[in-house]
Symmetry: C2
Subunit: 201 residues, 2 copies
């Protein structure tokens, strides 16, 4: 399944090997590994160290909760994500706990925590495929979220499927050329839209 990023500049193996595969298999993951994934998320940086992130998580060993999470995903995601050993929802606290003011960086910081979780998964030979395609209101209702919280993402956690076992259509999707915008179009110097000097130094 491995299809490392065609990087232009060297990066850590964890970064280069992280991907969001569709072909995932549901072999059990030891709870110690799952704990380490969320522990990694826990140590992400956040605005005022608020740590606005919260996760709802279930493994296949708790089919009822697993299915309640699954039903919060849009149908096209359900089709492949049901194969993962664990499903999670990523949520945020919208206001700072210490003063009740809106936390403009809550989503940003959840993104940091979940990215850290996904890199820890690589470290353990696991894969994480995050999803924007969820039903936040359904998730709020299903899990009785307090008003100050909001569900933002879904996460499917599993082992990368062995190519010989994976459905062909998903494998093709995973083995397609991985692409990103050129660095020159996302890293600017003194003038917006013009590549930073350090890109060509």
């Amino acid at each position: 399944m491995s299809n490392p990023a065609p990087v232009k500049h060297p990066v850590s193996d964890l970064v280069a090997r992280r991907q969001s595969p569709y072909a995932i298999d549901g072999r059990p993951i030891p709870p110690e590994d799952l704990r380490s994934l969320f522990e990694a998320a826990r140590w992400a940086a956040s605005s005022y160290n608020e740590q606005p992130w919260r996760y709802i998580v279930a493994t296949m060993d708790d089919p009822e909760t697993f299915d309640r999470i699954l039903q919060c995903l849009v149908e096209p995601n359900r089709a492949w994500a049901k194969e993962g050993y664990a499903l999670a929802l990523g949520a945020v606290r919208k206001q700072f706990e210490r003063n009740g003011k809106p936390n403009a960086h809550a989503h940003h910081d959840l993104g940091a925590a979940s990215a850290t979780l996904a890199l820890e998964a690589v470290n353990r030979g696991l894969v994480v495929h995050q999803m924007a395609g969820i039903f936040p209101d359904k998730a709020r209702e299903t899990f009785s979220l307090p008003d100050e919280f909001e569900v933002v993402t879904g996460l499917c956690i599993g082992h990368g499927a062995d190519p010989k076992d994976a459905p062909e259509a998903l494998l093709e999707k995973d083995q397609a050329k991985r692409s990103r915008r050129p660095l020159e179009t996302i890293v600017f110097g003194g003038e917006w839209g013009k590549p930073a000097a350090m890109l060509s130094d």
Copy 2:
């Protein structure tokens, strides 16, 4: 300066050693290393692979742009961030490029990219301290941001200061006990607010 996270469950060295120090020194960073930092950000996951993240970056070798970025930080951040070798602003495209619809995950995905950048910095013996304390409107004006973009964060990039050279007040801040919410208060199972089963399996 190193003050690794007191983790409860093992995590990758990159994750455990990442921190957001105040004591940063401005020794030059080879441009190859800076490129690898932004390359790592580039390969983060994003909703529909939109890659909404953009960065404005300047090193001390371009004092004019460095200062323009510095002036976009709130004063308490300017005081220590001016010591970093490079400063950056993290921005997002607010709408999807392909259909012009609002991208509800733009901030989330910038958070993922910047967290990946920060972990790549650890991989290179560098430190990144991200800041929510910036003036987004001033940044928009200073760098003539198009309407569809928004500046969200500041980033200070440098070497961790040698304890013997760092200002005592900053060192104390950095060497204080690092803390996070207990895992049981951020990772729930079928019932909101109740720890997930896998935490005690």
